[in-house]
Symmetry: none
Subunit: 209 residues, 4 copies
DNA sequence: CATGAATGAGCCTTCATTCAT
DNA sequence: GATGAATGAAGGCTCATTCAT
């Protein structure tokens, strides 16, 4: 269950430089992937957008797929970090869950393009790299699950264990929805409205007889 | 808002033949796209898998993207038809909604691979073709919305209009979830369990203080 | 010990065409390999020299190494055929061996450039292809050995078995010498002189006390 | 016909250092060339195998081809030296020639890989460098020729002048044979057997009527 | 002197598309 | 209508060489 970070081999030795160059690279690649997708972006374009030559690009990666991995990894890391940061509340009771959902939706909204790219292109990752990335998804799910379980422990929510998982997945996916279906949803709702409606639905379900 | 079917130009006149060849083509292409994705599939492979030559393939389409359009269109049509077929019930009250959700999840489960392919590759469609396909998504949403509204009209559900939309989207996306997150979800739940849990959640929300 | 011909896969089906195109390709490639060696020759150059486009080249081979294999194979085949043709004599006694050596040296002289290329570049063949080619060398050796053995059977030569092998190898290699050391040898001797001297040496050795 | 040693320019002044670094370099390069050939070896690999950086490598050479020249030159020098050392006998008569051949074959056997590399890769040398190296080959031939001529002078061998040259070339090439055709010959004979058979053949030729 | 990051020309190969038969 | 050979733009990647530190 350990999830050692997969490291992409480099020809360059200086760790400082690696960090710097990869940041440039990721930034450039994300911009391009958002614009035209992974397959339609060439390595030459990535190099240029990153501010260095094609030769230099390949000093920091072995293959184009490495760029994708680096990009997906960075985006996940960013989302997770932001989320973790926002979850760090002292709220009590159901408020805690509400705030978590709000925070999560907010993070997704802030990183719409990145999230979109990641979910659309990750499938092009080589098998092993994909596993590493999917593991991150599992971790995200667990973070949300934990918030719910905390509420259960506190006695503010009464649901069976299986339902916890389903609800966690639902919340996650409702975040994705906000980006994937934005051409429909963001025309109809503001983020705040969307958040409120989803939280309401989450807590009360449909009010039926 | 018009939804005229976008037609792909052909060099061949005989409509019967067009229909036949395109069916072969779609069947072959879906198989390949499922296996290796749109970008990694070559037109030669599509022709071969379809049972005719590359030259013939290009008698029935203008570009590789046309194949993708035909495939996405066919899959949507199939999903919509199957769903429409299953919705055709005489159920009353909340049961009607429950059955709709069940039916929808069942359809998705039956067409997992196709649904997965469609949602993953549609983004590679040229702008205009993408619009046509997304329109189908809107229609699907409306079908679900209609079921909910019917319940509202019948007086078995009391929710505001905005919530109807959100719930419809949620249901749709929970269907996608069943395929997109199958590596997590299908390990944890059977389709029946998943369906029941989602319906329960949908109707009652979280049982909280 | 069977030596099935290794066939290079093609995208083209018409065997006539394959034969024709490959002949063009081999001819062009030999010319280039002679001029600048295998590694310094580009696939584009091969295509151009063969009279077709780079795309077409790759319809008839899978990799650059395939060209080298085709070239080596063709040269060996040519040398072997020519030699076999010339060996087809009715000579008796030692004359038979003399004629064989003459014929062989003549063939080598006629195909100097090709022979040179083949022996210099074959090492770049992938392992398996190299084996196929080396097998041809074995067959050549056996052809020469056979001529010697025939003389032994006829009772015109008396040498032990091991010596037969060594002599056969020597003859082969003295042929190669004529091309590999041409910058020295061909300055000093005409082919006829060289042939006579080698035959004399072969038969009598050094006349020593 | 002058045979001035071609010197490879350096950025470094200190002759001691140059000598030391080049020895490292040659040792490393030979190892790599034996393993994968000149063209498949990169300058980076050479630097690494030599124990210094790519930058340093280029302080001691101007181009990759310089490395090849240095390597070929060093190998030839080594072969020549070893041979000269072994020839330094006091033997008389035909024994002198026999010992020379034995010694030469022994040297070749000891340096198989190096000899193989040199003869296979020297062709990639730039024209001028190639001439320098070939000159070494001439010198080797002359060394052998001299041994034969000494025998002729001593009156133990009676052959015409032209034959002397041919025999010298034959001996040289029979040495190469031992490495180039090792996949055939070394399977059939030990070095001793091979040496004896070749000497026998050299002296007596084929015993024919 | 030594280092190693940067460069970019150039290589091999693929593949969507066309068109003569 | 069907076929498949031909095309060449374009892509991913390598590697000899340079030069600032």
């Amino acid at each position: 269950m350990a999830n050692l970070k997969k490291t992409v081999p480099t020809l360059v030795k200086d760790p400082e430089l690696i960090k710097k160059r990869r940041e440039q690279m990721i930034k450039g690649a994300v911009r391009l992937f958002i614009e035209k997708g992974f397959h339609r972006t060439t390595t030459r374009e990535i190099a240029k957008e990153s501010g260095f030559s094609i030769g230099t690009l390949y000093e920091y990666i072995r293959s184009k797929e490495d760029v994708l991995y680096l990009v997906c990894d960075a985006i996940y890391e960013e989302v997770k970090n932001r989320l973790a940061h926002h979850l760090d509340t002292n709220s009590q009771g159901i408020t805690r869950l509400k705030k978590a959902v709000s925070a999560y939706f907010q993070v997704i909204d802030d990183m719409q393009d990145e999230v979109l790219v990641m979910y659309q292109e990750a499938k092009s990752l080589p098998k092993e790299a994909l596993s590493y990335v999917l593991q991150k998804e599992v971790e995200m799910t667990e973070m949300i699950e934990q918030v719910i379980r905390d509420c259960v422990s506190e006695g503010v929510i009464f649901i069976q264990d299986a339902q916890v998982k389903v609800v966690a997945h639902n919340i996650l996916v409702q975040g994705h929805m906000w980006t994937f279906r934005r051409w429909q949803i963001q025309k109809q709702f503001s983020l705040e409205e969307y958040t409120n409606l989803q939280i309401e639905q989450l807590l009360q379900g449909i009010n039926y007889k």
